[in-house]
Amino acid sequence: MSPHVSSPRVGGKGRRRSLAGQVERFLPRLVVAPSLAVALFFVYGYMLWTFVLSLTDSRMLPQYDFVGFAQYARLFANERWNVAATNLVVFGGLFIVSCLVIGLLLAIFLDQRIRQEGALRTIYLYPMALSLIVTGVVWRWLLNPGLGIQALVRSWGFEDFTFNWLVDSDMAIYTLVIAAVWQASGFVMALFLAGLRGIDDSLFQAAALDGASLPRIYLRIVLPSLRPVVFSAVMILAHIAIKSFDLVMALTGGGPGYATDLPATFMYAHTFTRGQIGLGSASAIMMLCGVLAILVPYLYSELRGQRNG
């Protein structure tokens, strides 16, 4: 490379940028700068702050007597945290799998040249527009043993029908799954449907000419090509599951007892109502770690895909 890298070789009055040129050069950075500053402070700064808090002995108010990782030790020894973490695995796993299965089936069925497809799609998807609080309130009503679905089925003559999961500590976690799946499966359907629409029709025709049956075509050809959709659906659903807080608050309140606590409600309760800011912060950091554990491999594969594509 030449020794005079950045400045033009030949001198002259135009060597420097005009004022307009200077402004034009820095304006874009200037425009993005506030957002970046906001992100650095309110996202990254806060993450650090919460991490620092998780290393302290803070109770009702934040204070900075450091106790190392003692709060994490307390957290892992905490029965309620372990229930919450286990619940998250059960809830998250069931929620994701159910949404994927239901969403995929609905999408495949809807992709068979269905009349009124638009209306059906609208119906499957509308719960996604609702607040999780509303979802919680209505399912709490439906699952109410005295007046909800149990009472309804009994009134049809099935006197022994029991569906009282809401008040059963062992089963209450599944009511969260039901409500959450009702809310989000339509969204997964929309994702899959978009993916299916992206598949070339000639693929179906070619496979049919080869003598493949419809189910076989879906299993062997369509599903593999939907892999990226499955990937991003899992990503979003996992993210919803980890952050889910509203639904628990409205549907079960974490109860019976703390049978349906999730890390999000655990964190909230300890930070804001039980005066255990240090412990709450530690649980928040664990949630962040959970998100990163999903996000990092996802982003890695996305970025690698982009580089290859």
Partner: protein
């Protein structure tokens, strides 16, 4: 697809019939909660106690709606949902407007004036979409306190703008990437600068993505509970927090019809938006995900 089902043999007909039956049953299941909500909200309390979740109300009564709107108790107070509904509007309108505008500017600067570090900037901003908000709750509570914005709708506007920018920037960036660079180059040669190009060239073609961003932000902020319950005072609670309080208020008789009416009131704005602009709603959901 499905060209192959065109010739209708008996088995094919059976398959079509089963298909429709299945889809319709599924639709009924999805609709059930909404139907029950509406029916219950229109029934008097005695009728509800008598059971029959799905029976039509013998007399349609809007009493529960009126009570939910104006006199139902949410915690200590008994002013109904109306005040909180207005709080939500007071939070949503500025927060949506500001975050969408900032997102548009960011997307424009990041894609059409690619400066060194633009991609890093975007990556740093994008992480805001994924951070679990529990991590920011405590520091945000402290910050709002220092700023004197604790327990105010202004504070909630700030919070929603701060954490909404990540999404709106993502939307606009992905949209503006597909706007040809040559158009911007043409405008530059025509003598337009940074702001003129934004206002005169880019914003006029941004209709669809503005709609997506507004709808996304609207539903997110309207439906938010976590920030509302963490940072709002009694006078600044959004409608979701009020709904939760109303349903959980244990004093007096449990009025299910009022609960349902209140839930519908809280749900109505986003439902209306969804019905009117469902296409953009879906696009926002998928834009925030597939392209994420």
């Amino acid at each position: 697809m499905a060209n192959m089902v065109r010739r209708r043999s008996t088995s094919a007909r059976l398959w079509r019939f089963g298909l429709y039956a299945l889809l319709i049953v599924a639709a009924l299941v999805y609709l059930l909660p909404l139907v029950v909500m509406i029916l219950t909200s229109l029934k008097p309390l005695e009728e509800i106690r008598a059971g029959a979740l799905l029976s039509l109300p013998s007399t349609i009564s809007f009493e529960a709606w009126i009570k939910a709107w104006s006199t139902a108790c949410t915690g200590m107070r008994c002013n109904g949902m109306s005040g909180y509904f207005l709080n939500s509007i007071a939070i949503v309108v500025p927060a949506v407007a500001i975050s969408t505008f900032v997102g548009a500017l960011n997307g424009y600067a990041l894609t059409k004036w690619r400066f060194r570090g633009a991609n890093l900037c975007f990556a740093l901003l994008l992480f805001g979409c994924f951070v679990p908000f529990q991590v920011v709750l405590m520091p945000m509570a402290r910050t709002l306190g220092w700023l004197g914005m604790a327990s105010s709708t202004t504070g909630l506007v700030l919070v929603h703008v701060v954490y909404g920018i990540a999404f709106t920037t993502l939307f606009f960036r992905n949209y503006y990437v597909s706007v040809p660079d040559e158009m911007i180059a043409a405008a530059k040669l025509d003598g337009a600068g940074f702001w003129r190009i934004f206002w005169r060239i880019l914003l006029p073609v941004s209709g669809p993505i503005i709609t997506v961003s507004v709808i996304w932000q609207f539903t997110q902020i309207w439906n938010d509970f976590l920030f509302g319950v963490s940072f709002a005072g009694f006078d600044s609670q959004p409608v979701t927090v009020a709904l939760n309080n109303l349903v959980n208020t244990s004093t007096g008789v449990k009025e299910y019809n009022v609960d349902m009416a209140a839930a519908l009131i809280a749900a109505l704005p986003t439902l209306v938006v969804y019905v009117l602009a469902g296409k953009y709603f879906v696009r926002g959901l998928t834009a925030g995900s597939v392209k994420g």
